[in-house]
């Protein structure tokens, strides 16, 4: 079920200084995580990124995901320590057409003599705040046993 990303998360993902990691899974269940700095949120609310290599492990894993309905995750971390994980599904691989050609030109202007294999579109389904202090507060509320006693001693 698609979810709408908050303005804060969108701003974080669209910030070029944010570190962005895409994790996919191969046929045998091996995780594969790579930095994808081209990750951004489009006007339709979906995430997208530019895959430059047709034969990359990420590209193959995403093909498997779109074909067999498997999820991927995107983890982002801002320079102020904000961090979110977005689980989602690849819903579209754009390999031709006006948008593809526009991004092809843009990426070549930016990086030089590179190619573009496709634009992957990922529909977000779940967003979680991965900031440590947010996660700590949530854990303390939900799991009061998950701590060492010395922290409670007088």
């Amino acid at each position: 079920m698609a979810v709408k990303l908050s303005d804060e998360v969108i701003a974080l993902i669209n910030n070029s200084e944010t570190v962005k990691v895409l994790a996919t899974v191969d046929q045998d269940g091996n995780p594969h995580a790579t930095f994808k700095q081209s990750l951004a949120v489009g006007e339709d609310g979906n995430l997208f990124f530019l895959e430059l290599l047709e034969s990359s492990q990420t590209n193959r894993n995403l093909v498997r995901s779109i074909w067999f309905n498997r999820k991927v995750t995107v983890t982002v971390r801002g320079k102020e320590g904000q961090s979110y994980q977005i689980k989602g599904k690849p819903v579209r691989n754009i390999i031709a057409g006006p948008l593809f050609e526009q991004k092809y030109v843009e990426v070549r202007e930016r990086l030089g003599d590179v190619d573009l294999a496709g634009i992957w579109v990922i529909e977000p389904e779940e967003v979680s705040d991965q900031n440590y202090w947010t996660r700590k507060a949530a854990e303390e509320a939900a799991h009061p046993y998950f701590l060492h006693l010395d922290r409670l001693a007088k």
């Binding site: 779109i66 067999f68 691989n93």
Partner: protein, 418 residues
């Protein structure tokens, strides 16, 4: 095996049943096969979406359509995974899939059920331009989403003594295109040069060039004239590139080593395909009498294998018209036997570095087999899976004929996972 045999006596499995039967094959690939098998009909709502300045309408092609018309409907479809469905318009009475608009989106439907969103192909920038001789460029070369098509000649000399391939409508279609659109029998190399030059001005639009034409038996040695003509056309195309070899595919007759060496050395061609059409010697003689007469099944296979020495492993292929091995009355009567025989022959070729790819057999109105019926969806899914598994077994790449550079072979769509 027994399950499959039993299945043949029953009502063919539906799309959703075949999807359930093959959880290891992507439903999108299964859908593509079935859409190719049954064809499409565009509803008026879908036709209203067409913007002729944006969308690519049916272009001159080497083969005709199931409706035997040259109507300006969308050329073909793109699925959301980036793969193409190369498919032609089909009369409603043949029970095609519908391309319709639902909730503002273009979709494929069957019996009222929405199955997938689709897009029309977009028109390349060169399409409405003219060459210096005044030829409309889309009458010289055509396009798939990422490929330039060149059909240098629509005439096949096997038809001269009525020995054209029985599933093929190439010459009848040529006559129709010549009469209705003014498409020439042979393309002028200068026109091809200029049209390709214009096409390459669109960044990101094309990844390969595919040439295919009818066989030409003439020459000092059989097919020398065909080879000469390809060399002329390929050299004209090659003049547009700064490198000698460029991603390309020649789909042509089975040439001798001497002819192939000339093609490889004198042009920029990178891969070579020569279609056996059906992987069975007896059926080949019946289905492809011209090919049998001029080359023969065993020699065709030998030429394919020898071509690997010239073009390299993974750069030679043969196409088969998937399902034509069940044509009546001489074809296999059991889908199981047809599949087993085809895959055994395919393994022999693949083990020698020759790719085997299939296209879904469409009994076209302009062909000898026009009243035949293609096999079940389940058959095609098993054929796609079988050919893919053989490529995996022998580690044979098929980059030159994959989902992007071709898009007409469901089995090579599966190579995206390799």
């Amino acid at each position: 095996m027994s399950m499959a045999l039993k299945r043949e006596d029953q009502i063919p499995l539906s799309y959703s049943e075949v999807v359930r039967e093959h959880p290891d094959v992507p439903p999108l690939v299964i859908l593509k096969i079935d859409v190719q098998r049954r064809g499409v009909h565009y509803t008026q709502n879908a036709l209203n979406v067409i913007d002729p300045s944006v969308h690519q309408l049916r272009s001159p092609n080497i083969f005709g359509a199931r409706d035997a018309q040259l109507t300006p409907v969308p050329d073909s479809l793109l699925l959301r995974d980036g793969s193409s469905i190369v498919v032609d318009p089909t009369p409603l009475e043949r029970n095609p899939y519908l391309v319709d608009v639902v909730d503002g989106q273009l979709v494929l439907t069957d019996q009222g059920e929405v199955l997938e969103t689709v897009d029309f192909w977009t028109k390349p920038d060169f399409y409405d331009k003219k060459t210096s001789s005044g030829a409309l460029m889309n009458h010289v070369i055509t396009a798939r989403p990422q490929r330039i098509n060149v059909f240098p000649s629509g005439f096949c000399h096997f038809w001269v003594n009525d020995k054209g391939c029985r599933f093929c409508d190439v010459v009848n279609h040529l006559k129709q295109q010549r009469a209705e659109l003014g498409i020439p029998t042979r393309q002028n190399p200068q026109d091809v040069f200029e049209a390709v030059r214009e096409a390459l001005k669109q960044p990101g639009r094309f990844t390969t060039i595919c040439l295919t034409a009818g066989s030409d038996t003439r020459g000092a040695e059989p097919f020398d004239q065909e080879v000469d003509y390809y060399i002329e056309i390929l050299q004209a195309i090659g003049a547009n590139f700064k490198v000698k070899k460029f991603p390309s595919q020649l789909v042509a007759t089975a040439f001798t080593e001497k002819q192939l060496a000339r093609l490889y050395e004198e042009t920029g061609i990178r891969s070579y395909t020569t279609d056996l059409e059906v992987l069975n010697e007896e059926l080949f003689e019946w289905v492809c009498p011209g090919k049998a007469e001029w080359v023969g099944y065993r020699e065709w296979k030998n030429r394919l294998i020898r071509a690997v020495d010239i073009f390299g492993r993974g750069y030679v292929g043969t196409g088969i018209v998937g399902g034509v091995e069940t044509a009546k009355p001489k074809g296999f009567t059991s889908e199981e036997a047809a599949l087993r025989s085809t895959l055994e022959e395919a393994e022999h070729l693949i083990s020698h570095g020759v790719n085997v790819v299939f296209s879904v057999w469409v009994p076209r109105p302009g062909s000898y087999f026009k009243d035949q019926k293609s096999p079940s969806l389940d058959y095609y899914v098993r054929l796609a899976k079988g050919l893919h598994q053989l490529r995996v077994k022998y580690g044979l790449p098929v980059d030159f004929d994959d989902y992007r550079r071709c898009g007409n072979h469901p089995d090579t769509d599966l190579a995206r996972l390799l």
